[in-house]
Amino acid sequence: MDLWPTLYVFVLASFIGLGIIRRVSRLLHTPLMSLTNAISAIAVVGAILVTGGDHPFGIRVLGAIALFASMTNIVSGFLITDRMLKMFKTERRGAAGPGVSGGGAHK
């Protein structure tokens, strides 16, 4: 069991995380949270191994529930993050005219 390299990775990754997250725009803290939600659903990797492995029935049921939960986070996390980010714009088309409602997404 290689404890030390693993611990090493953890410490370095934490420093990278702290460094990057500090630079995230404050405007985007809500999307940031839903994005990290989806990213931490990487637990899906463990869930796949437990569900798909040649394990007793009960163990695989636990794995399948975990897989379902992670997958839900992945799907909803990325989708809602993108949905929110699409709304952040620097300007609106036709902002001067009254009766202009919504629409006008920048592509």
Binding site: T6, I20, H29, T36, T51, A64, L67, M71, P98
Partner: protein, 469 residues
């Protein structure tokens, strides 16, 4: 061969995750971050699925399908419900980690307890405790945010609360140590079940003393826990991708929690163990103070003649769903050449960045959203500060009143503007139960009513006025 491919794919996925978060530093590149995240997760899922030990594909397909079925509707909730959705997904994340840990433990116990070395056992217990306490804690938080009836909104406290919590936690750690010493013993499976039960209970006990105003911090902390439980899983499975992604998530939650705490001038421990909001009730009933009300017509006139208007939104704007009306007001004022900015307090709303998302949804350019620290020096030049459903974040008592529970909290200096309009639903004090001096100040006029209606009326007044010219 397969091992090399897998490890290489995991390295690629880790790099993509780091890029995903890096691109969040600017709204113009942020969407690229989402694509990087999707690519990373897809690579990780496919490569793991291709592992030779994975043989039961039908189950995987079904579980993934169910995840899509639930995940897609969950991503379409109204943006005012985003705090609840976020809390709920922390619960899902916690559940996933807890369940994988449980499955791993009982499987290894039957296959060969010698696999459960003290080190793996420590990581496994950490994974399970963090996972399950995040599950119940986040469900409680989501319930409070959704205002589910049987979950009390007010902080619940009882004697020796922190002592009891700590004792439960110590008990769980003690049981874990007992299992680690001899995993092959007959009682190990039962002790493990007790640890799970304690963790589930612990999550509930951790959240009940915390009030709604502290939710931004709590959500950030739970975010961090969800990440750390993934890290612990990484240690158990010796998987460096899990450790990297979990550490990124853990540090993100930690930084957000620190920012929230700073914005409230409170310490971590104070938020978690302080039961905010109960002390405030005690002091009340000093001398009667008088509000000055203003009519819609009068307010519209003042707004029209201003050259710089700052709108200060708070949770009340979200509750009243007033953000679209606010946009109409913004448009009307812009049309008249009035400069309109939004002053955003870090803890306005129920989660970090909540106000920015609501205003972006209403199609307000993010370049007009200004952070507290940037706008405060300019406040004396502001003609009108319009407070929409914000309360504690503009309360001058935070600067002056040493006895106030919010003393020392940085606030938006609305009281320094030339005039202040405050929209308020009723004459009751705000969430924290603290009187707000701002409402009684000489230059403040109150507009009583539902935020959406009041702003709607203002818009109508302004639109009607322009027709007469």
């Amino acid at each position: 061969m397969m091992y090399g491919v897998t490890q290489f794919a995991y390295i690629v996925a880790s790099a993509l995750f780091i890029f995903a978060l890096h691109w969040m530093n600017d709204p113009s590149t942020a969407r690229k971050g989402v694509y990087a995240g999707v690519a990373a997760t897809s690579v990780a899922v496919l490569v793991t699925w291709a592992d030779p030990s994975v043989t039961h594909h039908v189950w995987i397909v079904l579980a993934i399908g169910a995840g899509f079925l639930v995940g897609i509707p969950l991503s379409r909730v109204p943006l005012t419900a985003v705090p609840q959705r976020t809390a709920l997904s922390h619960a899902f994340g916690g559940a996933a980690a807890g369940l994988v840990g449980t499955a791993e433990f009982y499987f290894r116990l039957t296959e060969g307890p010698e696999w459960l070395t003290p080190f793996r056992m420590t990581a496994l217990v950490a994974e399970v405790i963090l996972g399950y306490l995040t599950l119940t804690g986040s469900l409680m938080a989501a319930g409070k945010l959704q205002e589910v009836k049987w979950i009390p909104q007010r902080p619940v406290t009882y004697p020796l609360q922190n002592v009891i919590n700590l004792a439960l936690f110590a008990l769980a750690v003690g049981l874990a140590a007992a299992i680690a010493r001899d995993p092959s013993s007959a009682y190990a499976p039962y002790l493990f079940a007790v640890i799970i039960a304690l963790a589930l209970l612990f999550g509930v006990l951790l959240i009940i003393p915390i009030g709604g105003a502290d939710m931004p911090t709590v959500i950030a902390i739970l975010n961090s826990y969800a990440g750390l439980s993934a890290v612990a899983m990484g240690f158990v499975l010796d998987n460096k991708l899990l450790i990297t992604a979990g550490a990124l998530d853990g540090s993100s939650g930690l930084i957000l929690a620190i920012i929230m705490c700073k914005a409230m001038n409170r310490s971590f421990t104070n938020v978690l163990f302080g039961a905010f909001g109960q002390v405030a009730q005690a002091k009340a009933g000093s001398e009667e103070k008088v509000y000055k009300s203003e009519t819609i017509e009068g307010a519209a006139q003042v707004l029209e003649q201003a050259s710089l208007v700052v709108i200060i939104p708070g949770y009340g704007m979200a509750v009243a769903q007033a953000q679209h009306k606010v946009r109409e007001l913004y448009d009307q004022l812009k049309k008249r050449g009035v400069t309109v900015k939004f002053a955003i307090h870090p803890v306005a709303g129920r989660m970090p960045g909540h106000m920015n998302v609501l205003l972006a949804e209403a199609d307000i350019p993010y370049t007009d959203l200004v952070e507290m620290d940037e706008i405060n020096p300019d406040m004396p030049q502001v003609d009108v500060a319009l407070v929409v459903g914000a309360n504690d974040v503009v309360n001058p008592a935070a600067r002056t009143e040493k006895s106030s529970p919010i003393y020392g909290m940085p606030i938006i200096d609305a009281d320094k503007a030339r005039s202040v309009f405050a929209i308020k639903r009723s004459k009751n004090p705000g969430f924290a139960g603290i009187d707000n001096e701002l409402y009684f100040a000489d230059r403040t006029w109150m507009l009583f009513g539902d935020a959406k209606n009041v702003i709607g009326e203002l818009v109508k007044q302004l639109a009607g006025g322009s027709g007469m010219h």
